[in-house]
């Protein structure tokens, strides 16, 4: 069961990712990415991370991707234009990607002592997660909240119409 679920949702992930690359309109890419996010949420569940699966759907698929979609619509981004490519990106980038993938894959395959996942494995409960989060890692938690606050301020400052040079309402 686990295997079938894994194969199906891993397939969705890969399909979504490849589709993201192949599509020319950004909105289609965004939607493919949502597919990837949701599939990943299922995979998290299979690995026993129930809280993370929920968070993935709520935060990533439900908030971040919606934000992306808003921006695409706001900027009225159309189909991708044909622009000059970057020679160095092709010459240097692709071999780099291949190398990265190769190295990591080799390392993974050579690794011994990796276990397996099973449906009957214990699920990490939210209670256990929050216990560690709010006792041992309270400081990073609070700092993260400050980080989010700063991000909000930054986003508002950057996206607002600045000192009014461009709009000339005065």
């Amino acid at each position: 069961m686990h295997l079938i679920l894994f194969i199906v949702f891993a397939g969705f992930c890969l399909a979504g990712a490849i589709n993201l690359l192949l599509q020319s309109h950004p909105i289609s890419s965004a939607l493919s990415l949502i597919v990837v996010m949701v599939s990943l949420a299922v995979l998290y569940l299979l690995l026993g991370a129930e809280f993370l699966a929920a968070a993935q759907v709520i935060v990533y698929a439900g908030a971040i991707m919606v934000l992306f979609t808003f921006v695409v619509m706001l900027l009225n981004a159309g189909r991708e234009e044909r622009t000059l490519g970057s020679r160095s990106a092709r010459a240097v980038g692709f071999p780099a990607v291949v190398a990265i993938l190769g190295v990591i894959a080799t390392a993974i395959l050579k690794a011994q002592g990796l276990g397996a996942a099973n449906l009957s494995d214990p699920i990490t409960g939210t209670e256990d997660l929050s216990r560690v989060l709010f006792t041992q890692l309270l400081l990073p938690f609070e700092v993260t909240s400050v980080l989010v606050l700063i991000a909000i301020l930054g986003a508002v400052a950057l996206a607002s119409r600045g000192s009014g040079e461009r709009t000339g309402t005065h």
Binding site: S88, A91, A99, I100
Partner: protein, 654 residues
């Protein structure tokens, strides 16, 4: 040894004077500058006098300050102490340095007093006195030096002071050039001195004069060879400092400096440092007869050479300059026949009458408002009676008339030369001819400047102020009685430090005969000068017209300067311009700088292409970097190398 007596006070006073006048002089009132400047040499002279009186036990109830000479004082802290090389700061007072110090500080003080009057209108009054004090400091260090290195400090220092004072009127190009010439030519001599010092160190392991003397005294059989080389090197140094052939060329040019400077440095004291040095190291020269002979030959040749040039010079100071070179030649001749005390005796008397002549010339120049050309002078006898009187004393002294100072000392040298052997006779003859020429040119000067009618009727010469006249009178008195001590007593006094000359094959009656010969020759010179310059004033121009070649040769000083310019200066300048200027400076150094800069620029230009502003290429390079890091971390490189070797081995079929 009396611990209360401090030799270092002797150089200290002038050094303090130099510092005070040098640093604060411009801001101090003139009377203060003068006081400081005069106190310095006076204090030094005072200390020396106390030492002298103390030694002789004179002092009325005061115990002799110095129980015996030589008296050495060494600074407890060593100067150089590296491995085998050990050099101290040590001062030695013995008979030789005592005599020399009396001359240096005494005549120095008189000249300082004279300068107060002579330089009173000059802008650089304080600077002048600070340099003069600096000179005195270094000269006393040189004289008191107990080892060759301390002497070298003084040696170089007087060269520096000389440069500063010759180039005193530095706005004049000729003065600045003369200063440079003096310093550079001195440097060539100093090179000889340095090599001599190195060889001394190599052969004796020490630079202290007393130690060297002791070693040589203990080995009487050690002659020639290395000692000759050392002595010749030291001789080279002496010829530079004392303006002998071939390094005399700086002295005539040095007349660009103020006249009191010429009197002090280039007549009485600095130029005699070479003679002093040879007398100081006389044991070395005694053991190197070839070098000693070279000293004598150099001295005699220079004496004659310079005297011939002095015959036709028109500048009053140039005549005296060549005269100085010639008289220094006499001193070298004296050293060269191992009559060191005779040479020192002549050094002392020469200091008196040459300083006198220079200062008198200064008075004449001062009264003629800067005119130095003899052809424009004349008839000053009536206008400057006191100056005339003292000059006459000086002229008679230098010509060697009895009973003036020059007679005794010159005679001692000529006698010593004559009794030296066959070669000595030749040297004696050269000395005699030089005496004739000396008498001629000095009387020529006397006639042209003082007698006859004035050749520049618009001039209004006036007598100099008392600050200038008093030293002149004192020096004149010394020129009269300076020689009365007699060579025998003088030698006896100096014997502990300069050695006693073995009495030669010479009868007792020989000396008076030789003295009469010398005086006769001097008289002959006077008569000739009288004939030429008083009775028939047209004779000189007729003679020079009759022998134009020789006249030109003499007037142009045998073209020696031109010769040196052509053989030494021009090649050096060519090397500097072409080799060092073009090749080394422009090509090598410039090329190197260009290369470094060029590499940076080139690398920058190359790397600039990376900053394309293109997001994707940045991303690509990021990915590449990440891949590289991953590869570096993950791949087990240490096992890969033998594994790959194994693979190659296997593929090769083993």
């Amino acid at each position: 040894m009396n611990a209360l007596f401090h030799l270092w006070l002797i150089p200290l006073a002038p050094f303090a004077g130099f510092l005070i006048n040098g640093i604060l002089g411009r801001r101090l009132p003139k009377w203060l500058v003068t006081t400081v400047a005069l106190l310095a040499p006076l204090a030094a002279f005072g200390v020396v006098l106390v030492a002298a009186l103390g030694f002789f036990g004179i002092g009325k109830g005061f115990a002799p300050v110095i129980a015996s000479l030589p008296f050495t004082q060494t600074c407890p802290h060593p100067w150089i102490d590296i491995g085998a090389l050990h050099v101290d700061f040590s001062f030695v007072l013995d008979q030789l340095s005592l005599v020399m110090l009396l001359v240096v500080t005494g005549v120095g003080f008189l000249i300082h007093v004279y300068s107060v009057g002579y330089m009173s209108d000059d802008e650089g009054y304080a600077r002048y006195f600070s340099f003069l004090n600096l000179f005195l400091f270094f000269m006393t260090v040189l004289v008191l030096a107990g080892n060759a290195l301390v002497m070298f400090v003084g040696w170089e220092g007087v060269g520096l002071a000389s440069y500063l004072l010759i180039g005193f009127y530095f706005q004049k190009k000729s003065a600045a050039d003369a200063g440079k010439k003096a310093f550079i030519v001195n440097r060539i001599g100093d090179f000889g001195f340095l090599i001599g010092m190195f060889l001394l160190l190599a052969n004796f392991g020490t630079l202290t004069f007393s130690a060297i003397g002791a070693k040589l005294a203990a080995n009487p059989g050690w002659q020639g060879g290395a000692l000759t080389v050392i002595a010749l090197c030291l001789l080279l140094g002496a010829t530079g400092k004392s303006a002998q052939l071939p390094l005399y060329i700086w002295l005539p040019d040095a007349m660009e400096g103020p006249t009191p400077v010429s009197a002090l440095i280039h007549a009485a004291t600095m130029v005699t440092a070479g003679v002093y040095m040879i007398a100081r190291t006389h044991i070395l020269f005694d053991h190197a007869p070839f070098a000693l002979g070279a000293v004598a030959v150099v001295g005699a040749a220079t004496a004659l050479f310079a005297a011939t040039i002095g015959l036709v010079q028109n500048d009053i100071k140039r005549v005296l300059a060549y005269s100085t070179i010639s008289q220094l030649g006499y001193m070298f001749l004296g050293c060269g026949v191992a009559a060191y005390s005779a040479a020192i005796f002549h050094l002392v008397t020469h200091a008196f009458f040459k300083a006198l002549l220079f200062l008198a010339a200064g008075a004449v120049i001062h009264s003629m408002d800067g005119e130095q050309d003899l052809r424009k002078m004349g008839g000053l006898r009536k206008k400057l009676p006191v100056t005339f009187a003292v000059t006459t004393v000086g002229v008679l002294a230098i010509a060697g008339f009895f009973p003036f100072a020059g007679f005794f000392s010159k005679d001692a040298i000529l006698y010593a030369a004559y009794t030296q052997g066959a070669s000595g006779r030749v040297l004696w003859f050269v000395g005699l001819v030089t005496a004739l020429l000396t008498s001629f040119y000095i009387f020529r000067l006397w006639y042209k400047a003082f007698l006859g009618e004035s050749r520049s009727p618009d001039a209004h010469p006036h007598e100099s102020p008392p600050s200038m006249m008093v030293p002149l009178v004192i020096l004149a008195a010394l020129s009269i009685c300076g020689g009365w001590i007699g060579i025998e007593r003088f030698s006896a006094f100096l014997a502990p430090s300069t050695g006693l000359r073995a009495p030669d094959a010479g009868s007792a009656s020989l000396e008076p005969i030789l003295s009469i010969a010398a005086v006769a020759v001097a008289l002959l010179g006077w008569l000739a000068a009288d004939r030429f310059y008083r009775q028939r004033p047209v004779r000189p121009s007729q003679l020079s017209a009759a022998l134009p070649g020789s006249y030109k040769l003499l007037v142009h000083k045998y073209y020696v300067d031109e010769f040196y310019g052509w053989t030494v200066v021009k090649p050096l300048i060519a090397i500097s311009t072409y080799l060092l200027g073009w090749v080394v400076d422009t090509a090598l150094v410039g090329g190197l700088a260009w290369l470094l800069g060029g590499t940076a620029t080139f690398a920058g230009a190359l790397l600039q292409r990376w900053q394309s502003g293109n997001l994707r290429s940045y991303a690509a390079w990021l990915a590449a970097g990440a891949a590289a890091v991953l590869l570096f971390i993950v791949v087990p490189w240490s096992t890969l190398w033998p594994a790959s070797l194994n693979l190659i081995w296997k593929m090769a079929g083993h």
